[in-house]
Amino acid sequence: MKRYRPVAAVAAAVVLIQLATLILGKGFYLTQLTMSAYYVLAALGLCLVMGYAGQISLGQAGFFALGGYTTAFLTTRDLTDLGGTAFFTVLQGLGLVIPKETLYGGTVIHLSPWVSLAVALILAAAAAYLLGVPVLRLRGHYLAMATMGFGLIVYRIVLGTRLFGEADGLVNVPGFALVPGLEVSGEMSSRIANYYIAWLVVLLVLVLLINLINSRVGRALRSLHGGEEAASAMGVDTARYKVKVFVIGAVLSALAGFLMTHYNGGIGPSEAGVAKSVRYVAIVAVGGMANLWGTLMVGSVLNFLSLRGVFGHYDEAVFGLVLVVMMTFFPGGILGAGTLRTFKVRLVEILNRVRRNRKEVIHG
């Protein structure tokens, strides 16, 4: 039970923050906090891939967009023309189509988001598998560039395709009804409910990931990170574990994209951009790589501030600065053990070097 204690702490924090916004009359913060939760979800997926398995991925935003665009595309189509086909009848029989009245009194029939959820997650898993099997054989720089290339492909396709709304993205995505009366959507009235839905999903995923990390798979992953050859020699099927983790990370990211799209009522091409993928990497790096709690905390704080527009014009620059400062001074992550000590050691090192250089200059 001990391993779940931090989960309980996070749950308590989630409730306290909601109460605080209520007391302070800052209910509108909940919108950004909800969105942060979804970004954190995608970052947690990357944390598993990068932190625990040691495989860098610069394509996480591609999977996020894959989830979001799939549902946005499927749930905004009008299925009226399909009426009468066997496929439609089956969907109807299962209650997976939603008829709706339009502004002009006509009716349109939309696909239920439950179907698009399944499609989105399966698509993401399939894409991650097809990409992962060949690409995860690569290491370091090659892997980084290959995943970045995948991200750019997704970005260019959504940006250049009419069906995906080009630069405008897709809008008018309906809410996602979990149970009657409770749906993932941007409705003002359900702001508090949506805040709890989002963070509940994060908590559930955390529990799953903690279990995964403390299982046979988790131990295999850590051995992989420590030294792939050694792990391989000890009989760990490194290739299989890497692909498995990559797929899990992609599915989490796609789930985040799916929920975010229903919450926001749309998605745009910037969600697929390389800059977004870099953000996820920054969050995981600052959180201390193999540290779910670090990713969770850093992810929620940075994303919340960014969404509130605190960084203004320097939004992207902040993430760049964070990366550079982190790697220079705290390579072990900001929440890692001994952060202060490493910082001191580094500082002394740098000062010594400066002093030495000065001596060289003086003594020629």
Binding site: G54, H141, V281, G320, L321, V324, T328
Partner: protein
Amino acid sequence: MGSGQLLQYLFAGITVGSIYAFVAVGYNIIYSATGIINFAQGEFVMLGGMLAYSFSRFMPLGIAVVLAVLLTAAFGGLMELVFIRRMKSGSVLGMIVITIGLSLLIREGALAVWDEQIRALRFFSGSEISSLNILGARISPQVLWVLGTTLAVTAGLFLFLKFTLTGQALRACSENRRAAKLCGIRTERMVSLAFLVSAGIGALGGCVVSPLTQTHYAMGTDLALKGFTVAILGGLGNPLSAVAAGLLLGIIESFSISLLPMAYKDVISMVILLVILVVKPGGLFGSSRAAALREY
């Protein structure tokens, strides 16, 4: 497609391909000396174009270009001194993260200085409407400047690496850093030099193509990826075949427009990148066994 049109596409491809070659050569020089892939490589091209644009408003074009190249080269060297050298533990993940962070910072810095506008340097000779007729294709004289510069840089680099002592020292570093150090080569200096030279070459490329392809603060990411594709196609660690691969990719992209919508142009290069990485990571001209032995 008539022969004139064919040539037109070919020249367009060569122009774009040259810039990829510039980036790829930069990757190669740094990779050779350090084993690092510098994700900020595309930003040097952007910086070169932008700086030259700003300087050219106060001084003759030639001086502006030289100044821009020198400044960018100095910046590249400084980047190595201040950030890269510190990362002595040298984990690949750390190197990737720090160069990505730096590229983001450079890009956002450029946004603050030059805003979102697209800038273009003056044409080196003639103007945007002057054109030469070559076998039925009409090309801008700037294309000749681009080609000439590419050839000059390639030849210069070849001579430098082959015949000068410094160039040989740089090559020794790439063969085996420790052995080079034991022979009395100051490897740290070679690393700084590699950053300096590759930033300068990138900036020069950014200047010569700026009149044709324009300069934008966010152009670096795409260039970094395309340049990397080219570096891999040519075989990492081999700057000369990178030039051939650059022209090849440029020509493929240029002809792809006649088959697929313009918007998917980048998709083609990225698919090529993924395929080559998976099928033949040693490059088109390299041996895959040598590639397997490299550290990356």
